[in-house]
Amino acid sequence: MKAVTINQISKTYTVQKEKTIALDGVSFDADLGEIFGIIGPDGAGKSSLFRILTTLLLPDSGTANVMGYDVIKDYKNIRKKVGYMPGKFSLYQDLSVEENLEFFATIFNVKIKDNYQMIAPIYKQIEPFKDRKAGALSGGMKQKLALSCALIHKPDVLFLDEPTTGVDPVSRKEFWDMLSELKQHGLSIIVSTPYMDEANRCDRIALIQEGKFLSINQPNKIIKEFKRNLYSLESLNNRIALKALKEKNEIHSCHPFGEKLHITLKENQEIQFFENLLIQNKIEYQHLEKIEPGIEDCFMELMLSKQ
C-alpha cells in the first residue's frame, strides 16, 4: 500500500466568472514512511492539493487515495488517519497550550498520555509554557504546538502545508530535524514548501508550477537530470549584466540568485567560451565559475523547457 496515491486530479476555481486552474491533472504516489515534498512558488496549487487530500475540498476530476481510502467515498476513515497542519496557524488562540492539545486529543477520542511518546520531543520544548495562551506564543512555538496537535492521535500520514513559511532559518532547520525524527516512527509525511533549499531534506520531491508537476523524483536525481553546464557570475552591476546577457543568442538562461547570476549556454560550451563572450560584449565581472546546480536551478530549467 502507498501512503498517498493520486491520479489525474484537477481543480478549477471560478471567481466572478473568471476561471483559475489550481490543479491541472496531477498524479503522484507517496510511499509509506517517506517524506514527500511538494515544492513550488505561491499560487502553484500546493494548498488546493493538500485540501483535497485532507478531504476538505472536492476535486473536479481524478481520484485520490490516502492510506488506501478514497478521498470522496471514504473521507470518514481518512479523517481518522491523517494529521493536518494548515499553512495558517489555526489553533484556538484564546485557549492555553495544554488546553489546545487536550481539545484535539478529545476530538480524536484519545488521551494525551497514550501517544505522548511520539510528540514528546516536540512538546517538551513548549511544555514550560503550557499554561500560556496559544495566541501569546512566538512563531516557532506556535508551530511546535500545531505539530503536536496534528500528531496527538498518532496519524498514519501527516500533511504539512507550508510549515516553514515565515519561520526563521534556525527554527526551520529545527523543524526539519523534527520531521526526520518523526519519520523514525514510521510516519508518512507530505510537506509543501516554497523554499527550494529545503528539498534536500525530503526523500522525494515533486516540483509544481501552475497546477502541473514539472518533475517527481529524489532530489539528487532531479539534480542529475540537469545536463547543462551552469555558471555563476558575480558582476559589479547585476541589473546591467542581466539585461545585456539576456539579449545574447548564445545564452540559454540567466537568472539572478541572490548576489549572483546563474547562467546556462545554448550550446553546452566550456567556461573559456563564456569568458570570451563576456569580454567581447564588454560585460564587467569580478568572478566567474562553473558550479553544480541546485534544486532551484533545476526548477528554473524545467519551467523554461515546459514553456
Binding site: 479523517r79 494548515p86 484556538y92 488546553e99 478529545t106 476530538i107
Partner: protein, 372 residues
C-alpha cells in the same frame, strides 16, 4: 458524549475568557431592561400648545388655566394672530394651536353654542393625534362643567346618549410597563441568542480553526450541538436575570406558572440559537453574519407586536408575523406573566416553536459542510 462535554467545556472557557461577551451577556440586558421600559411609553406629555385668545373673557381664561393644569399641555405662547402662531408651527415650537374666537363667552351663554378652532402639527403623527384627542376630551369636560355650574342646567340632561363604563382586565391600571417589560425581555433574549451564536462559527472560520476541526472525525451534529448548548444555558440565565429585574424593579411577577415561562423560553432559545448558527454557517465573515442577524432582528422587533399591535397591521404584514418566532415569544410572555395563562393555553405556541426549532437546526446542520 465525552466529546460533546469537552466541546461544551471549551466553549464555556472561551466565553468566560472574553470579557466583552460576558458584559454583553449579563450586564447589557439588565441595564436595558432597567432603562428601556422607562423610556418606551405611549403616554404623550409635554404637548406644546399655542393659544390665540381673541375673547379674553372669564370663560376663555378658565379654559386656558384648565389646559395648563392638566399636565399634558405646555402653554408655549399666546400670540395675537393665527399667522404669528403659524410661525411657531413652522419652527416646530408648537404642536397644537387653539384659537378662541371673540364672543366665545357671549355665544356660549346667550346662544348655548360656541366654536373653537384647533390646528394640529401632524409631523409627529402619534403626538398630534393623541394631543388632539386629549384636547378634545378636556374641552368636552369643560363644556359639561361650565354648563352644569354656571348655567345651572342638570348634568344628566346635557349628557345625552350612551354612557360607557369600563374596566381594564389583566393590567388593571393600564400600567404601560407591565405590558412592555415582558416584551422587552423577549427581545433581549432573542438578541443575545442570535448575535452570539451567529458570530460563533463564523469566528472559527475567520481564525481558521474550523479547518483544523473539519479534518477531524467529529460528527456534524455534535459540533453544532456543542455550539448551541452553551448559549442555550446562558440564555436561560439571562432570562432569570431579566425576570429578577422585572420583579425587583417593576414589581412584575408572573401570574401564571414560572415553570411555563422557562419551558417556552427553552424551546424558543433552541429555535433562535438554531437560526443564529444557520446564519453563522452560511456567512463567510463576522461582518456578514452581523448584518444578516441585524436585518432579521429588525423585522422580528417591528413585526413582533412589541410596540405596535399586530391586529392593527395590514393583512399581509400579519401573515409575515406568523413566521416570526419572536412574536410568539412576546405573546406567550404577556400571556403567562400578565394573564396567568396555563400550559394548555400556550400549547399551540409551543408546538409552532418546536417546528421553528427543528427547521432552523436541521438547516444549520445541513448547511454546515465540512468540505467545500
Amino acid at each position: 458524549m465525552k466529546t460533546l462535554i469537552f466541546l461544551l467545556e471549551k466553549e464555556f472557557r472561551q466565553v468566560f475568557r472574553d470579557p466583552a461577551i460576558l458584559r454583553m451577556l449579563f450586564i447589557m440586558p439588565v441595564i436595558q431592561l432597567i432603562v428601556l421600559p422607562l423610556a418606551a411609553n405611549y403616554e404623550v406629555k409635554n404637548i406644546n400648545i399655542d393659544i390665540i385668545d381673541h375673547d379674553k373673557s372669564d370663560f376663555s381664561a378658565e379654559l386656558i388655566t384648565r389646559l395648563n393644569g392638566s399636565g399634558y399641555f405646555k402653554l408655549k405662547n399666546t400670540p395675537g394672530t393665527f399667522e404669528e402662531a403659524m410661525k411657531d408651527f413652522a419652527n416646530d415650537n408648537a404642536d397644537i394651536i387653539l384659537e378662541i374666537p371673540s364672543n366665545f363667552e357671549k355665544d356660549l351663554v346667550k346662544e348655548n353654542n360656541s366654536k373653537l378652532f384647533m390646528a394640529v402639527n401632524a409631523i409627529n403623527g402619534a403626538k398630534a393625534n393623541i394631543g388632539a384627542s386629549y384636547l378634545n376630551s378636556l374641552i368636552q369636560k369643560y363644556n359639561i362643567e361650565v354648563r352644569t355650574e354656571w348655567l345651572n342646567a342638570p348634568e344628566q340632561k346635557l349628557q345625552k346618549g350612551i354612557l360607557l363604563e369600563y374596566s381594564n382586565w389583566y393590567n388593571i391600571h393600564m400600567n404601560y410597563r407591565n405590558f412592555m417589560v415582558p416584551g422587552i425581555l423577549a427581545i433581549l433574549l432573542t438578541m443575545v441568542g442570535m448575535f452570539l451564536t451567529s458570530l460563533n462559527i463564523v469566528r472559527e472560520k475567520e481564525a481558521g480553526t474550523i479547518e483544523q476541526i473539519n479534518v477531524t472525525p467529529i460528527k456534524k451534529h455534535i459540533f453544532i450541538l456543542g455550539k448551541l448548548l452553551p448559549f442555550w444555558i446562558m440564555g436561560l440565565v439571562v432570562l432569570t436575570l431579566g425576570l429578577l429585574v422585572a420583579r425587583i424593579i417593576y414589581g412584575i411577577s408572573p401570574l401564571g406558572n414560572l415553570f411555563h415561562v422557562y419551558l417556552f423560553a427553552a424551546v424558543f432559545l433552541w429555535a433562535t440559537l438554531g437560526l443564529g448558527l444557520l446564519i453563522s454557517t452560511i456567512s463567510k465573515t463576522q461582518q456578514q453574519a452581523m448584518l444578516i442577524a441585524f436585518f432579521l432582528l429588525m423585522i422580528f422587533i417591528l413585526l413582533g407586536g412589541l410596540y405596535t399591535s399586530i391586529d392593527s397591521m395590514p393583512k399581509w404584514a400579519q401573515i409575515i408575523t406568523w413566521f416570526n418566532p419572536v412574536k410568539y415569544f412576546i405573546e406567550v410572555m404577556r400571556m403567562i406573566i400578565l394573564k396567568g395563562s396555563t400550559l394548555f393555553d400556550i400549547l399551540k405556541h409551543v408546538g409552532i416553536m418546536i417546528l421553528f426549532a427543528i427547521f432552523f437546526n436541521a438547516w444549520a446542520v445541513l448547511s454546515y459542510s465540512k468540505r467545500s
